[in-house]
């Protein structure tokens, strides 16, 4: 199995530990992972701001970097969703379509492709899970509270394999944190208020850590927690699933 690791730009620059944990987690499961060093960004920040027409450079680069792999795995539901929905190439549309079908968010790759049933991780802490919207509602990593359908959750399925980990229940299990890409500065007041409310739900239920399959939501919530001088920390799910 030839797996390419897609590390979104902001994880590369600000959260290398989430990327290293992803790499270690996959390697630990016996998967050979290659990181194409010339990757940059999926183009989502521009596209969600209405500038999808400026993303061809990113698209072409993505295709050059990742077309060769059987699977492309990334520790970010949001960036994966963007690729799945919007990767196009006037020159190589077949390659673009191929990538859209073989790109996976980390927890869905572990659950659906590797069918992981056991992990040797240990994390003896109270953890609140933030269901990032693009992962949950876009990639359907977990059942959505709005729909009348059977419950499931790929991230929770994996977290339950971690020794010592205690999940905390939330009042609103899948409300958006308010990051929203450029929304976080364009609509600063609402974004911050949403973030404060989301963080409070975790803190009030005794979480020591907030985790998610999307680092961008965590970056936003971390910014708020640190401004509040809170002891509660954020950790990408890969860091917990590979914690010893």
């Amino acid at each position: 199995m030839n797996v390419g690791l897609f590390i979104p730009c902001y994880i590369d620059q600000f959260y290398p530990n989430a990327a290293i944990a992803t790499l270690n987690l996959l390697s630990g499961l016996g998967i050979t992972v290659k990181y194409p060093v010339n990757q940059t960004c999926c183009g989502q920040p521009m596209a969600n701001s209405g500038f999808e027409h400026l993303t061809q450079g990113c698209n072409d680069l993505f295709i050059d970097n990742f077309a060769e792999f059987d699977y492309i795995v990334s520790p970010s539901g949001s960036c994966v969703l963007h690729i799945k929905d919007h990767l196009h190439s006037p020159k190589e549309e077949d390659k673009a379509l191929g990538i859209r079908k073989k790109v996976y968010e980390l927890t869905e790759f572990l659950t659906d492709v590797l069918k992981v049933e056991k992990l040797s991780a240990r994390f003896p802490h109270k953890v609140g899970v933030h269901q990032s919207c693009h992962g949950q509602r876009g990639l359907m990593l977990a059942q959505m509270s709005e729909l009348v359908d059977a419950p499931f959750s790929k991230p929770l399925h994996l977290l339950k394999m971690v020794e010592g980990l205690e999940l905390v229940e939330l009042s609103r299990p899948d409300e958006c944190c308010g990051f929203g890409g450029t929304f976080c500065v364009a609509e600063e007041a609402v974004s911050v208020k949403m973030g404060k409310d989301r963080v409070a739900d975790h803190v009030n239920h005794g979480a020591e850590y907030i985790t998610a399959a999307d680092m961008s939501c965590l970056m936003h919530m971390e910014g708020i927690l640190r401004r509040q001088n809170s002891n509660v920390k954020v950790l990408h799910i890969a860091e917990i699933l590979s914690a010893q």
């Binding site: 701001s49 919207c133 208020k193 910014g223």
Partner: protein, 459 residues
């Protein structure tokens, strides 16, 4: 209705100055969303119902011309006068001309978002005709001289104490009285007199049935019925997308509408109006006002499936924390944000950006409108049509330049991280909107790319 030059972000900023009030607004609407969830989860076939409703509405939109003509024929056979209005101005003129014909200078109106969209109240006022809204929430915002902030719960932004003050001022209730039962009784008394003395009544339309020419009006207060039954002239105003093919389709829509809206199984009154009673005149005004333009936009046509339940507003985390007035349009929230740019792209260019694209709106929508995908698509249209903020354009160009080249990206990352680490004042300042209420991420000693090069490249 006018918000001056302030956009959604600026108006939300003002709304958020009072955090306790934002909490109250959020909790109130979340309570409605929770009631909706409970009602939906009591119907095992809920998702199948949504799918059925969606398909019926798709059929309607694809055959709208036929259904409208069928509806007109049937309604005329029933003795109803049918009018066609191309836009808001024509709608208002038609209503005015009917009133003039009957020498009516004061009337009552039950809830109709279409008349809000057309600004009928203001128009009639300018023509010296008094309108009294009979829906309690609408009456409250009318007394406050405000537009509704929500299409189902028009005065949801007002606390009961504020309503008490308004009633004290306008209806003479005791000062400081804010008991909802007392205030409702006072409103009832005030409206009862109005019902008995007005000769013309305007109602909205929830569903118009093509096969029978009848229309259905849903209210919880019975105010549409009381108005229409007591008046000599009943004028029903509807957008052309309110058509459904057959009466039996109501079995789908009436089950979905109120469960989605408030969590009730059905509205207290779902009244069918088919023909005028002897001596009464009944008029229906069919209004386009941009709907056929929207129908011609492949990406946005299915926004016309909307049955105005407001579930998307109640669930929207942005709406709950910015309030309906921040959308500066008659229909607020996610659905309003995909409808309004069709009416005036420049005026409403901010609305598709007033969302995190979380997708909850599309999930609660009883007719399965892909609202969040349309928000994304409107953003692309608005930028292409030249309505984007010029500073944003520059930032995006810079981003394109940086992210299209691995070399530029790596160096920009290195430089950016160096500045954050060694000259934090360059980012931790008032000009950085992130930093106002959030800390910047801590700067790692190296990027993942740099780490990989050192540790893994030659594995």
């Amino acid at each position: 209705m006018s918000s001056g030059t302030k956009d959604h972000a600026a108006l939300s900023d003002i709304f958020n100055k009072d955090e306790a009030r934002v909490d109250w607004h959020d909790e109130t609407l979340w309570f409605v969303r929770a009631k909706r969830d409970k009602a939906a989860h009591n119907i095992p076939e809920w998702e199948a119902l949504r799918e059925a409703a969606s398909q019926i509405k798709n059929n309607v939109l694809s055959n709208l011309h036929n259904y409208l003509i069928e509806f007109e024929e049937q309604a005329q056979k029933n003795g109803v006068t049918v009018h066609w209005a191309a836009d808001a101005a024509e709608h208002n003129q038609i209503v005015h001309s009917i009133l003039k014909e009957h020498n009516v200078n004061r009337l009552i109106k039950s809830k109709s978002m279409l008349t809000e969209e057309c600004h009928l109240n203001e128009y009639l006022k300018q023509n010296d005709i008094e309108v009294i809204d009979t829906d309690l929430g609408e009456r409250i915002v009318q007394l406050a001289q405000e537009p509704p902030s929500h299409i189902v719960l028009p005065c949801i932004h007002k606390k009961k104490e504020e309503i008490g003050e308004l009633f004290h001022e306008h209806l003479g209730t005791p000062e400081g009285m804010s008991d909802p039962v007392f205030l409702t009784a006072a409103a009832r008394e005030h409206l009862r007199e109005t019902f008995l003395t007005r000769k013309a009544a305007i109602t909205g339309v929830n569903f118009a049935v093509a096969e029978t020419g009848e229309f259905v009006v849903c209210t919880n207060e019975g105010n549409a019925d009381m108005g229409a039954h007591l008046a000599d002239v009943h004028i029903a105003c509807m957008g052309i997308e309110k058509i459904i093919p057959k009466r039996k389709n109501l079995g789908v829509f009436l089950r979905l509408l109120t469960r989605s809206a408030t969590g009730q199984p059905i509205t207290t009154y779902s009244s069918h109006f088919k023909k005028p009673r002897p001596g009464q005149q009944m008029h229906i005004v069919l209004v386009d006002n941009g709907r056929t333009t929207q129908l011609s936009r492949p990406d946005f046509r299915n926004s016309l499936k909307c049955i105005r339940c407001a579930a998307c507003m109640n669930t929207c985390p942005v709406y709950r924390r910015s309030g309906g007035h921040s959308y500066h349009t008659a229909v607020a929230g996610p659905i309003g944000s995909i409808l309004a740019p069709n009416l005036d792209m420049k005026e409403y260019s901010d609305l598709p950006f007033a969302s995190t694209l979380c997708g909850s709106c599309s999930n609660v929508c009883p007719v399965k409108i892909n609202i969040h995908e349309q928000l994304y698509k409107w953003r692309q249209v608005i930028v292409k049509e030249g309505y984007a903020d010029p500073t944003k354009k520059l930032a995006m160009k810079a981003m394109e330049f940086t992210l299209s080249s691995p070399f530029v990206y790596k160096n920009a990352g290195k430089v950016g991280r160096w500045f954050m680490k060694h000259a934090p004042f360059t980012v931790n300042n008032k000009l950085n909107l992130w930093y106002q209420h959030r800390e910047m991420p801590e700067v790692p000693k190296e990027s993942f790319g740099e780490w990989y090069k050192k540790n893994k490249k030659n594995d």
